[in-house]
């Protein structure tokens, strides 16, 4: 019996030692008192060396190795010789069909954050934003912004920044794109209808299309990819009403969601919605969905639709009371709440937004001055090469000041964020909703199922 107690106490001791050893932080980041330093001129700021003259190290992590991150790192290190930036970009152009690389990235990043060794700047695009925000792993950037004397809010698209996150700004997007509809303006003005695309919702949209169809013209109102993707679209725009992440409550069994399901069915029946691509190409649709990612995009899309006089309309809002254009951000950077070099990391983040890098994704930059430069380059070029399928049939499309001003107005109206759905909830939605759209289950049944599963997820 004594031997047994000896053995037990020995193993418990081993357990205690093993359990406690995992807590120490392996890397040591030297912090430097960079706050309160006056910037001499322009946007760059001097970062002094660490207290012992050691270089300041910033760890930057993102899922994919974008070339412009490396370019920015070189440039920044050249301008600030005391700063060393370590890029942690695991995926370099490999395809990830099975999703395993992404899974591995998520798990390793989660583990690093939980053990306190997370990177200083992290690209949150592929990570569960709701969990990171909920666990307080990201720093509130609005604080850093207000403390930074050099940060000029007007230089940025503040309408996008203000609506990019809920309850404080925890991510800073580098780029964004805008969603809307291309519509047949000629028919619209012919009918004499006053289309209030800034505030219209889907009910008003339905009425408008019914009215237009009555007056003759196109057959269908709106072409879309599939019922599930349209539903997903609506859920994204109404996400805070369906899932309250603070109190971990879901309300999919409310009238809102079942209303969405039945509304889609109804609109299909009324020919307001068309899922057949044939209708799209033959032009018998009043409105088509477009994503605008750059000024060239805007001109290309205008030429690609088969209307004589196309115009951009904001998408119908998912619920009445909302106003503006929908946008979606990309390259959302967050700063680790426990980083010891927050100020330096914030400075590098600002540096990333300050100019157009060579290999940036083709999207609208968050920095207005960079956008203005893009427009200028286009104007001096004078033309954009057209799409072979559009009206210009591959020929050059002229760049006019008027069109660019239209685009300015569109971007200024970008106020509605498409929320990122939690990936679990997204999976549940896509799994359960097809049964309703093929007519096998009722809306209430599907809504109850989804509510059940989502609530289980939130309760964990």
């Amino acid at each position: 019996m004594r031997m047994l107690t000896l053995l037990l106490s020995a193993s418990l001791l081993i357990a205690a030692v093993a359990g406690c050893s995992g807590g120490t932080n392996g890397e040591r980041h030297v912090s430097s008192p960079a706050a309160g330093i006056e910037s001499p001129t322009g946007k760059e700021r001097d970062i002094p060396a660490g207290e012992k003259g050691e270089p300041v190290k910033i760890v930057f992590s993102a899922y994919e190795a974008n070339a412009f991150y490396e370019e920015a790192k070189r440039e920044y290190e050249r301008l600030h010789p005391h700063v060393r930036i370590e890029l942690d970009l695991p995926v370099k152009g490999q395809s990830d069909l099975s999703g395993q690389l992404l899974q591995k990235f998520r798990e390793t990043t989660n583990a690093k954050f939980l053990s306190g060794q997370g990177p200083d700047i992290i690209e949150m695009d592929r990570l569960p934003m709701d969990q990171y925000r909920g666990k307080g792993l990201l720093a509130d950037l609005s604080e850093l912004m207000s403390q930074d004397a050099d940060f000029e809010r007007e230089q940025y698209f503040t309408n996008v920044l203000e609506h990019a996150d809920t309850g404080g700004l925890y991510i800073f997007p580098l780029n964004f794109s805008v969603e809307g509809l291309m519509g047949d303006e000629a028919l619209m003005s012919q009918s004499g209808m006053n289309v209030q695309d800034d505030t219209w919702d889907w009910t008003v949209f339905e009425q408008t299309v019914n009215e237009l169809q009555r007056l003759g013209g196109h057959e269908y109102g709106y072409a879309y990819k599939s019922e599930e993707s349209l539903l997903y679209d609506w859920v994204q725009s109404q996400y805070p009403k369906l899932v309250d992440e603070q109190s971990r409550e879901a309300s999919f069994d409310s009238g809102l969601f079942t209303g969405m399901l039945t509304a889609i069915k109804e609109m299909q029946a009324n020919k307001v919605l068309a899922a057949n691509p044939a209708q799209l190409i033959s032009g018998s649709v009043y409105f088509q969905e477009v994503h605008l990612a750059s000024p060239e995009d805007y001109l290309l899309n205008l030429s690609a639709v088969p209307y004589e006089q196309p115009a951009f309309y904001a998408k119908p809002k998912a619920q009445e009371g909302q106003a503006g254009t929908y946008f979606r951000t990309q390259n959302n950077l967050g700063i680790n709440a426990h980083s010891k070099v927050k100020q330096e990391a914030w400075d590098f983040l600002r540096f990333l937004t300050s100019r157009a890098w060579t290999d940036m994704p083709k999207l609208f930059p968050i920095n207005k001055s960079v956008y203005e430069e893009q427009k200028q380059t286009l104007l001096t070029d004078g033309t954009v090469k057209g799409n072979p399928f559009g009206r210009y049939e591959g020929g050059p499309i002229p760049v006019t000041q008027q069109r660019l001003e239209e685009l300015d107005a569109i971007l200024a109206g970008a106020k509605l964020q498409k929320s990122y759905l939690s990936m679990t909830i997204e999976g549940i939605l896509f799994e359960e909703t097809p049964a309703f759209f093929t007519g096998q289950k009722t809306a209430e049944e599907v809504a109850a199922l989804i509510q059940n599963k989502v609530q289980t997820y939130l309760n964990e």
Binding site: R2, M3, L7, S11, L12, I14, A15, A16, A18, G19, C20, G23, E107, N110, A111, F113, L114, S115, G116, P128, Q131, K135, G136, L137, A337, H338, T424, G427, I428, E431, A435, Q440, K441, L449, N452, K453, Q455, T456, Y457, N459, E460
Partner: protein
């Protein structure tokens, strides 16, 4: 304790197994226990029983625990009853006995993943069973998304484990001396009386073992459920391991450890209760 005696030799022979047990089970479990008392974010700090309280507060955990208990309480008796009946049948019959035994044990050796594909095809909303129901003009049933899901999983569980339990019972049945049955027949006892007074009594040790193994296997049924229904199955089939799997996926290690410690604690209580009853019974027998 005297060294150089029998007990020393016994410990020497036991040590490899004990060390293995300690390294792979005892020590990790101790670490999990410690983990469940910590908070990892924002920094590593002692959290006391916070996680356990959180677990009992979590509606999902309570649901998972209730479902697991319900499943065990329903499927284990059915499994034992069926396997005992089968064992007695096979024991009595002489016709194709070996073939019968082999075919009933076969499900145990078939890999789970391949079996699951068949069950998925059968129970899917657009699957085999529903196709047959459609032809008969009956409304479709979403098998895995309704209360039927428990019946489906119970069916898979019983089908898989029937063979193993049957073999155990068969071996035990063959250990009961025939003379008892003959004596009973001579004394005029009916079939039922013979069954209750002889078979059950002499099967008790085996019965204990079978019950224990069945309970443990009923917790393992998570594998089949996960492969058929994924991370978030219908309410009825949301078991403890689903909860723990999902907590692992969201890398909430302290909560996961607390859940596993609770689960081990409950199983340990259950098993020790069973063993204590058995020991009392043995004492009464002697």
């Amino acid at each position: 304790m005297k060294f150089g005696s029998d007990s020393a030799a016994a410990w020497v022979f036991l040590s490899p197994s004990l060390i293995g047990f300690a390294v792979f089970y005892l020590v990790p479990f101790g670490m999990a226990l410690l983990e469940s008392l910590l908070n990892r974010t924002p920094e590593i700090a002692y959290a006391g029983l916070d996680h356990y309280r959180g677990l009992l507060d979590s509606a999902s955990f309570r649901k998972a625990a209730a479902n697991s208990l319900y499943f065990t309480a329903v499927s284990v008796p059915v499994l034992i009853g069926l396997s005992l009946a089968l064992a007695m049948l096979v024991n009595g019959s002489v016709f194709a006995r070996r073939w019968l035994q082999t075919s009933i044990v076969l499900p145990l050796v078939v890999p789970v993943a391949s079996v699951v594909t068949f069950w998925r095809v059968m129970t899917d909303w657009d699957g085999g069973l529903n196709g047959w129901l459609d032809k008969e003009g009956v409304n479709r049933i979403d098998w895995m998304n309704s209360e039927w899901s428990m019946a489906v999983i119970a069916a898979i569980f019983i089908w898989k484990n029937l063979g193993y339990m049957m073999i155990l019972f068969l071996a035990a049945l063959q250990g009961i001396p025939r003379s008892y049955y003959e004596t009973a027949r001579i004394e005029g006892a009916g079939e039922l009386r013979a069954f209750a007074r002889i078979t059950i009594v002499y099967l008790r040790p085996t019965m204990l073992f079978v019950v224990l193994i069945s309970i443990i296997n009923s917790f393992k049924v998570f594998r089949e459920t996960y492969l058929i229904a994924g991370d978030y199955p219908y309410d009825r089939m949301y078991l403890l391991q689903h909860y723990m799997n999902n907590t692992f996926m969201s890398l909430d290690l302290p909560k996961l450890s607390a859940a596993s410690v609770l689960m081990v604690g409950c199983i340990a209580m259950l098993v020790s209760g069973l063993l204590a009853r058995e020991r009392r019974f043995q004492r009464d027998m002697e």
